[in-house]
């Protein structure tokens, strides 16, 4: 398995293997079911959950609606507090900015806090190409990095690995990267956590450059917020001399007070805790406490294109809690890798095709990676109507239409590969607009029912490979109705 998502096959193909991988299915089932019940309990503790959810949604919508104003305000406050703000329109620009900043320090290694934005832009690979080694310090990211694997979950990128597999990766790989795993390492989670502590400690203590993302940026004060559990975040944010934070432009909230909403909804939605063990907030630089140099890299990379879509822009409310992944029955069975993106699950299925466009096979297939069951929308702490956006993106795929790519308005052509479906949908619409045609079809089906097979050839195998077809009745309802009710004088 390679460390990138480039050239991924369409979702159904990628999911095919995962569905039949019993270990993976077991790992995902165990983990997602564990967290589901806990989340429900943590949320039920707050009588005003619905109001917090609504406020979170409104704060984010308001911010997005005035995003230009808040970005400028944030830049001013961060600068006034001693930070330096950089703007990156895409992944390449962001990677170049970060690499140059690291080179200016003269260092050749950085320690990293888990960050979706830097995963998204492939920062580690870009730094590697410049001779800079990036060490992931979050436990799950460490598991992924040591295992030369790909992340499969937003919160717990190594969710697809069970404790036995993690033990094996640590025992095998840690010595390649630094301090080896202790002899006789077992698979108890406490021992595995201890092994990670020992392995990473030397890296933290010597680190001169830290790289992070941020959960929130407060426009009025210039404050950044990182929410974490392990303390690796605190290490990276406070011990190095230089801190570089790469943050998506949608992570802004207008005021300090706004944090009161998200610091209540995020931990409960994410790890099902009343509060996560550590939350760090910092505003620029502070004399003698923490990094002397602070750089904020504001990242677009498809976010403004997403903002241009009036239905799809709600995806930018996302606070990356991953509650939607944990409740999703499709995610549970297909696994995170099938989504071909650092953003898997329901939110990934609406985010990736908007950030990257729908040109690739995988991105065009993601809007269909859902049964539209609505469990994701129900748990979303900022009320993103994921099913609504999925259907909207399906429309973009099959009908084409106006979209924005890299800041330019373009008109998409209907995707190839949907021609037969499109014809069938048109034919069905034509028939359904004419009750007489529908009736003729139904009668034909009923009269020939004795010769209907229970399984289908060709594309029909998608259904009948695993499910029998229902038998066709002797007569459709409408014939019975006409025969019996109209005889009693009912209306036609």
């Amino acid at each position: 398995m390679s460390g990138t998502f480039v050239g991924m096959p369409a979702f159904p193909k990628a999911a095919h293997e995962a569905v039949h991988d019993r270990t993976l299915r077991g790992n995902l089932r165990h983990a997602t079911h564990t967290i589901r019940g806990k989340r429900a309990k943590a949320v039920a503790e707050l009588a005003d959950w619905a109001e917090l959810r609504e406020a979170g949604k409104r704060i984010k919508d308001h911010t997005l609606r005035h995003l230009d104003r808040y970005l400028v305000q944030l830049e001013e406050s961060v600068t006034a507090a001693g930070g330096t703000v950089h703007w990156a329109a895409d992944a390449d620009e962001a990677n170049r900015i970060v690499a140059d900043l690291v080179k200016e320090t003269g260092e050749s290694e950085v320690v990293k806090v888990k960050s979706m934005a830097t995963q998204e832009i492939g920062l580690n690979e870009a730094l590697e190409a410049e001779g800079i080694r990036a060490y992931e310090t979050d436990l799950a990211e460490l598991i992924v990095q040591l295992g030369k694997d790909r992340p499969s979950h937003i919160l717990v990128p190594a969710i697809h690995r069970n404790r036995g597999e993690i033990r094996e990766i640590f025992a095998r790989e840690m010595s390649e990267w630094g301090r080896p795993a202790p002899d006789g390492l077992t698979d108890t989670p406490a021992e595995l956590a201890e092994a990670a502590r020992l392995h990473l400690r030397e890296k933290f203590l010597r680190a001169k450059v830290g790289v992070s993302g941020a959960n929130f940026m407060v426009a009025e004060t210039g404050t950044l917020v990182v929410v974490e559990s392990e303390g690796n975040g605190r290490m990276c944010l406070t011990l190095p001399e230089t801190l570089i934070s790469v943050v998506g432009i949608e992570k802004i909230v207008p005021t300090w007070q706004d944090l009161e909403v998200f610091l209540q909804t995020l931990p409960r939605s994410s790890t099902a805790e009343r509060m996560n063990p550590y939350t760090s907030t910092w505003t620029g630089t502070t004399d003698e406490d923490g990094p002397r140099h602070f750089h904020l890299v504001l990242l677009d990379n498809g976010r403004t294109d997403t903002l241009a879509d009036e239905v799809g822009r709600q995806a930018l409310r996302c606070i990356r809690c991953s509650a939607c992944l944990n409740v999703c029955p499709v995610y549970e069975r297909a696994g995170g890798h099938a989504y071909g993106s650092v953003y898997p699950g329901p939110i990934g299925a609406i985010l990736s095709p908007q950030l990257r466009g729908t040109a690739s096979e995988i991105d065009a297939s993601l809007p269909y990676a859902s049964s539209l069951c609505g469990a994701c929308y129900e748990v979303c702490p900022v009320a993103i109507d994921i099913p609504e956006v999925l259907v909207h993106l399906r429309e973009r795929v099959v009908e084409g239409g106006p979209v924005t790519r890299a800041g330019n308005k373009v008109v998409l052509q209907p995707a190839k590969g949907h021609a037969a479906e499109r014809a069938a949908m048109r034919a069905a619409r034509w028939a359904f607009s004419r009750p007489g045609v529908l009736r003729t079809g139904q009668r034909l089906a009923s009269r020939t029912r004795r010769i209907h097979p229970r399984t289908l050839p060709g594309p029909g195998r998608a259904w009948s490979g695993t499910r029998d077809l229902p038998p066709v009745p002797a007569e459709p309802f409408r014939d019975w109705w006409q025969r019996t009710q109209n005889a009693k004088g009912g209306a036609e």
């Binding site: 109001e51 703007w87 990156a88 956590a193 007070q257 800041g407």
Partner: protein, 213 residues
């Protein structure tokens, strides 16, 4: 064109369909959520803090001002700590009974030096009962962020009931965003193995909170 102008231009074009709205922010977002959850007496709020701290595996002790030096001395002795980091503005009385070597935090102290210290004792800025959280803001009795991070044992003193608030909204109102803040809810933990919670990763693995009232 600079990245800044390009991004701001894209944002403005992306929002072309959105009708202009100059509602001031205070009115644009309805905040009908609760300022705190449930009604409690002052003592009840302190009890809830103790309960929630313990729920996430912080070790909670309660005493009064006179008993505090003895409690701290006892905790350090039980731990077998011989060196203790102290922030510059910590009340000297607190460690008066402890038989340990006090280590002052100096600007030039390296992380490796901090790593060799057994324990750290600090005060806090505020504590949040509903979530079992203590918040440090870098005041002289709390010190730089690194001193409560690198040592493996942290004793934090909370003055009750003055420093205790019931909820997250109330805590934010007491805090100054210009200061570097660390919100701590129990010892370091992870859910990264099978989404099951395990305490003790990089931060102090033992967090003891002394409620002084």
């Amino acid at each position: 064109m600079s990245g800044r102008e390009r991004i701001l231009g894209r944002v403005r074009r992306a929002l072309a369909d959105v009708p202009r709205d100059d509602t001031p922010y205070e009115r644009a977002v309805v905040r009908d959520y609760l300022p705190e959850h449930g009604e409690r007496t002052v003592d009840g709020t302190v009890d809830l803090l103790a309960e929630n701290l313990a729920d996430y595996r912080a070790v909670v002790h309660r005493t009064d001002a006179d008993g505090l030096p003895g409690v701290i001395a006892g905790l350090l002795a039980a731990r077998g700590a011989s060196t203790v980091l102290v922030p510059p503005g910590l009340d000297e009385e607190w460690l008066a009974a402890a038989e340990v070597t006090l280590v002052a935090d100096r600007a030039e102290s390296t992380p490796a030096e901090l790593d060799r210290v057994d324990s750290v004792v600090t005060a806090c800025a505020v504590a949040v009962a509903e979530t079992g959280t203590i918040v440090l803001d870098g005041s002289p009795d709390q010190g730089r962020r690194r001193i409560t991070l690198v040592p493996d044992h942290h004793i934090c003193v909370v003055r009750v009931p003055d420093q205790v608030v019931s909820s997250v909204p109330k805590a934010l109102r007491r805090l100054d965003p210009a200061r570097p803040l660390t919100w701590i809810s129990g010892p370091s933990a992870t859910s990264d193995i099978e989404l099951d919670r395990v305490e003790g990763v990089h931060g102090p693995r033992t967090l003891e909170v002394v409620l002084v009232g």
